[in-house]
Symmetry: C2
Subunit: 545 residues, 2 copies
């Protein structure tokens, strides 16, 4: 304890003088808590794709559904006539589209999933989508709706020869109301484009994620993307006011309400939010956008224990209240890896078992800085926080964020990563990392030298949303490691009523594990819904539930 | 313009010195924007109920569904044995429960709807609810789930002899996490009880409405209640994390997730939020509760036009940003009526075509006051606001709120009110009031003397949510007035893609008008859902869709 009290004045000097009082303008290009970094996306775009294993090889147990027809020239002719121009199709059935032409639609950016699709359709209107789906339904042709194809669970790429229906040509902003902040836009509008459009009007898209430069808002809504702004603005189930979607039989569900309050019957749109394109295809979205904050502050803190981290989070909620916009957790292992790979100067002197990044955003930078300063003094006085710094300018702000954002990139440095995106009640959240680490150590799988497959087990994530990213950095993919991890991790989560997919969705990756987060009754009710809307099962088959 | 510029210094004096700098503690008993005032509820409780017309008389076109069985002694015996004790039933079938005993369950507080129910069941657990519904389903006995019975559209009272299943004995708070703010509670917990429990822990229930002293949170979620805090905390579709519900066949949907992020399949709970008990009965709720604000400020402003009111709202959103917690609209007619009935001193000198009430709530009263002061100076300088006052203490705060809250009570002073709770894109919102007023004037129905049925047409409501309460104060209910109002009002709303029910729901009152807010396709899809979950139609029949 004497050691601690010695530290407090040191901390005061470290933190308080560096408080930025003049405010930092929010920069729309800063992507927080990235799940997909832009550089990783670039690497994918620049690299070849031939090395990617087919999903049918990775999942040999999945067989092509014999109900689905093979695509014929007659089918393609129908689509050609419907869409009117060559550029609206990528046709590997009757025309000369090559494997390279089709690969961006067949493979995901992580190079984990790869389908055998030979036909991509790019409708330009909801009516065209309607005609496509109706035709596919009548001819039992399987379909995969695809937006920016930035998903993490293989949900947006085909497995066999499903037809990809891309939203890329449906990219118009249809409406914005500067008084209410309601935006209506086509499903194919890129998230960053929408956010930049809103920035010019003083508004913000209530969702932010690393793939914002590529992902489509229709895809975001279809997968109920979480991301960083959820802590502040809530989930898409609350912010999305309406959707326009096409059902498999061609029916257009026109529910593009621009109203925050509308209690007239079942809120059907909610089934499509997070429905991952399995009961219909979202063609447009109406969403309530909040005011953009004028001031942003970021603090980076070191802490002694997860217990103190929880208490600090509670204090941040109480004291920073309405301006708290991010509370991100990083353990020492994640920061060690980042440091080893990047060889950067650490933001704090010394090492700490836990770190957190706190962001505030508000309408008055002086007020926000004062609140943050007072909060930091308080958590130091209470000895919850051991050390900390506050960004003084935009460069420092980005640098602090990179300590959190850069983990995803650096974690794969030794060869590979086993990644779990989970949600667990906050009290138990970090214990999963400890238990997993111990398990791999006890199994003799983790060590310093090359003979051990596991480099380290790290935990980081959106503490504010009880959303943990459990990552196991490995030197090579290894059956023994896999056997130690699964079903252990899923069982562990299930016992604590956690979720095996917090924000990434089910796709093909977690289809078979849904039982760990949902009971049989609930899964049964979900299947009822699927059968009700898509009795022929043509929408995004082999995935989800 | 010269007149206006003369006013500005006067206003500055009026507003700025009165700014409360020391902050006002949030008082949990203050109910904002009440739809049902406590005194109105008291009057109902104290008065007899024999004068209330049966719904079957008001709606002679509704016939008892012949599929439903009559309740027999055998049925009652089953329920008696199941529930175990006398007090868990109000039995007018085999025991001596009188009409008076049954009336609180048969009638609504507005004395508008009255059913013929002879059996009320008060289960104490989810399992008991499950057994009740399973039995009712197998014996085709119709059921009305009932919470606090504070609804405004007749949704929670029976029409014929449906069995009332009350949540009143399911009233335990099951869980609260002081770090995440997640509350899990039985459906029958009274909203105010939940809010007071949370207040002690520094949290707030993200919903507030006038009936909070009586309404049950299960009913709130079933009707997707809106209320005042929606502007700040969003709708229940975003804040509710999970529900436990019993389906008509007795299946328990156990989806009491305590997680903010959980992307594992269709979000089925959303169908029950606002489902008005037509596909199942909610027995418990898990909800994310925000931090309670320490400081509250209220300003009351007079404005010259609806155009300026819209601009003021936009400025409030920009400048007050994260601390804005209410923006309420009142027209001069609503304030005239309030003033005439209450004979109070008006908050502002002179009269103004429009008024608004702005509330801020935040974590730092000095900061909040400073923001509010700056905002008020700005809107005065820009000549958007003509006059205004700011509450200096709790009494003034309540007094200003009463100008908004008291409208509902005073509007019926002359004999009756035609009430519409609607949502319309903000730009057009007030025009509905003007057009309705003109229509009634043109028809010679509105005037000063007793020969005219209509006293006045007023508009007020939650401007921040585009939610208008259009009220027509009348001296007597009159067929000519009704013919002038309907379907005119609904058609007007429909043409502007508004909602005929913003926050009150459909119940029996608006069942037949849903077509004005939802197209045939959507209503058809809703009916599919109803049939899927409740094929025998036993849940809350004759209502909703």
């Amino acid at each position: 304890m004497s050691c601690r009290s010695r530290l407090i004045p040191v901390l005061r000097r470290a933190i308080v003088p560096s408080l930025k009082r003049s405010g930092i303008t929010a920069n729309p290009s800063r992507c927080a808590a990235r799940c997909i970094s832009s550089s990783a996306q670039r690497r994918f775009q620049e690299s070849g794709i031939r090395g990617v294993k087919y999903t049918t090889d990775s999942y040999p147990e999945i067989k092509r559904d014999s109900r689905f027809s093979q695509i014929t020239k007659e089918h393609v002719d129908y689509f050609k006539e419907l869409l009117g121009k060559e550029s609206a199709l990528v046709d590997g059935v009757t025309a000369g589209a090559t494997e390279d032409d089709l690969e961006p639609f067949n493979s995901d950016w992580m190079r984990k999933y790869r389908g055998h699709c030979r036909l991509v359709l790019k409708p330009a209107s909801t009516e065209e989508v309607s005609k496509i789906l109706k035709y596919c339904n009548e001819n039992t042709l399987a379909v995969v709706p695809q937006g920016g194809n930035t998903g993490l669970v293989g949900g947006s790429v085909p497995v066999f020869d499903e037809i990809v229906v891309s939203t890329s040509r449906m990219n118009q902003i249809r409406f914005f109301d500067e008084v209410s902040g309601v935006l209506v836009a086509d499903a194919g509008v890129v998230l960053e484009v929408a956010d930049q459009y809103l920035a010019e009007k003083g508004y913000i898209f209530p969702l932010d994620l690393g793939a914002k430069g590529s992902c489509h808002i229709g895809g975001n809504v279809s997968t109920n993307a979480g991301g960083l702004r959820l802590l502040r603005y809530g989930s898409l189930h609350g912010t999305v006011l309406g959707i326009e979607a096409v059902l498999p039989n061609g029916t257009i569900l026109d529910d593009l309400s621009r109203l925050r309050k509308n209690n007239t019957g079942y809120d059907l749109k909610q089934l499509f939010i997070g429905g991952e394109g399995t009961i219909g295809m979202i063609t447009a979205v109406s969403i309530h956008c909040p005011q953009r904050s004028k001031a942003i502050n970021v603090a980076f803190l070191g802490l002694e224990s997860y217990e103190k981290l929880q208490q600090t989070f509670k204090e941040a909620k109480t004291q920073l209240g309405e301006i708290l916009s991010a509370f991100e957790l990083m353990d020492s292992q994640s920061q060690d890896i980042f440091h080893k790979v990047k060889e950067n100067k650490r933001p704090l002197e010394g090492e700490h078992p836990f770190y957190c990044l706190i962001e505030t955003s508000g309408s008055n930078s002086e007020h926000d800085s004062e609140k943050l300063e007072k909060f930091l003094e308080d958590v130091m006085t209470k000895e919850l926080v051991t050390d900390g710094v506050v960004a003084e300018n935009e460069t420092q702000l980005r640098s602090l964020w990179s300590q959190r954002e850069g983990i995803t990139e650096t974690i794969g440095h030794w060869g590979g990563v086993y990644k779990y995106d989970v949600s667990i009640p906050i009290k138990d959240m970090y214990k999963l990392v400890e238990d997993t680490r111990k398990r791999l150590e006890d199994a003799g799988l983790k060590g310093e030298s090359d003979e051990y497959p596991v480099v380290d087990v790290v935990g980081y994530g959106h503490m504010g949303d009880s959303n943990l990213h459990l990552n196991i950095a490995v030197r090579r993919y290894d059956k023994e490691v896999e056997a130690a991890l699964e079903p252990f991790v899923y069982e562990w989560i299930s016992e604590r009523n956690g979720s095996i997919s917090a924000e990434h969705g089910l796709g093909i990756a977690k289809k078979k594990y849904i039982g760990y987060s949902r009971n049989e009754t609930t899964v049964g009710l979900m299947k009822q819904i699927k059968n009700l809307y898509d009795p022929n099962g043509i929408m995004n088959p082999y995935k989800y539930i």
